[in-house]
Symmetry: C2
Subunit: 248 residues, 2 copies
Amino acid sequence: MTIKAVVFDAYGTLYDIQSVASVTEEAFPSYGEIITQIWRIKQLEYTWLRSLMRRHQDFSVITEESLAYTLRVLGLKAEPGAFARIMEKYLHLDLYPDALATLAALRGCKLAILSNGSTAMLSALVKNSGLDRVLNATISVDSKKIFKPAPDAYTLIEEVLGVPPTEVLFVSSNPWDSCGAKSFGLNVAWIERVTPEAMALACVKSDVVPPLTMFKAIRTQMDELGLKPDYRIHALSELPGLVAAHEP
Amino acid sequence: MTIKAVVFDAYGTLYDIQSVASVTEEAFPSYGEIITQIWRIKQLEYTWLRSLMRRHQDFSVITEESLAYTLRVLGLKAEPGAFARIMEKYLHLDLYPDALATLAALRGCKLAILSNGSTAMLSALVKNSGLDRVLNATISVDSKKIFKPAPDAYTLIEEVLGVPPTEVLFVSSNPWDSCGAKSFGLNVAWIERVTPEAMALACVKSDVVPPLTMFKAIRTQMDELGLKPDYRIHALSELPGLVAAHEP
């Protein structure tokens, strides 16, 4: 089956959410990285918990609430303006260095983002990074009132692009998102950005396990959910070759 | 409204899941505690992710899969038998020291457990700890094929005990579970076993944030989900007084 559309997750896949660390470090010296790690864990947890409780809330609210939680747990108080400056960075995240060239090389396919982000957050992010010029669609789960990995979220791809799941390649660095997409029936390429070897080495070298290594590990290693992505790659730049090889 | 039933979460509320650390430490010296922390995070994530993906699996399978993930991420290999010994401990968890006395003092109410645990795991655990003699019911979410905090899980309380939500006090140390129960409409007592002050102090005293402190923090501090438990207590032993005071 030919791949007719390549659909990307946004946060952590095309956009480096760790790039928030520059702003959090400025606001809270020496806490910058740990803030981004806890923030991300809680941001994800809240999307899943709210979906299960049937108390959907806009992703921007969830992002604010998980940041508030993070600062509280760390015993940090944001000075006026700092909270807003950190949140603002979410609209100006750095693209991974190979993102633009990869998208350009894939121009033969329909290209889109499918993200838990709200329509407003995604529009700003895509515009600020210049991706609005190369993407055919930026799809937020907003209209479904439920977050990935619920099947309803992935149905939006066919609804918006008109391409059936078997002809879509879904790309995510998030293990849970890769599993959700696979469970739904999409072709899936999972980007493994931190290898298990690098993780194990970091553990051996340090006083058992450094906290940042650990937080990164539990977000970047493939989960045990009884599902396996079709492809395991290490960078966006591998995608054009992969799509070409997938042709019948 | 009089409280006619007190219903407890099991893992982390009546039973100390950190007591697994003795067995994990024996199997993997110096990794005992970190294993239990990562294991727990992933065990919870998998219950939520599988519920959202509509791929329900028995809690014992999820517990095994999250342990397998934890060992893999840490670069650890279990010798034959070690994996089974660790899993076995889940059927012999320690009760919190004040659990038995608290349940005895609450004997005027119907008493039950509502847990994500499978029927087989819970039956063994309750029998091994002697709670089968004081509980009116041990309720697993099994029959609903979805995990807490989905509303369907909490409906089991009225179905099994015949007591409506307004006359039930639900007790959990898990912030997300306390929020789920509150969202459903139960009266909720949240047990905060680690105070924010202790957490913040641990951060200040150490090289920013020690990993175990951090993992504990993100499991024990109240979440930002727009919900507030009715009561915030610090130990099970506060419950008899609380139930008495709740009387009209």
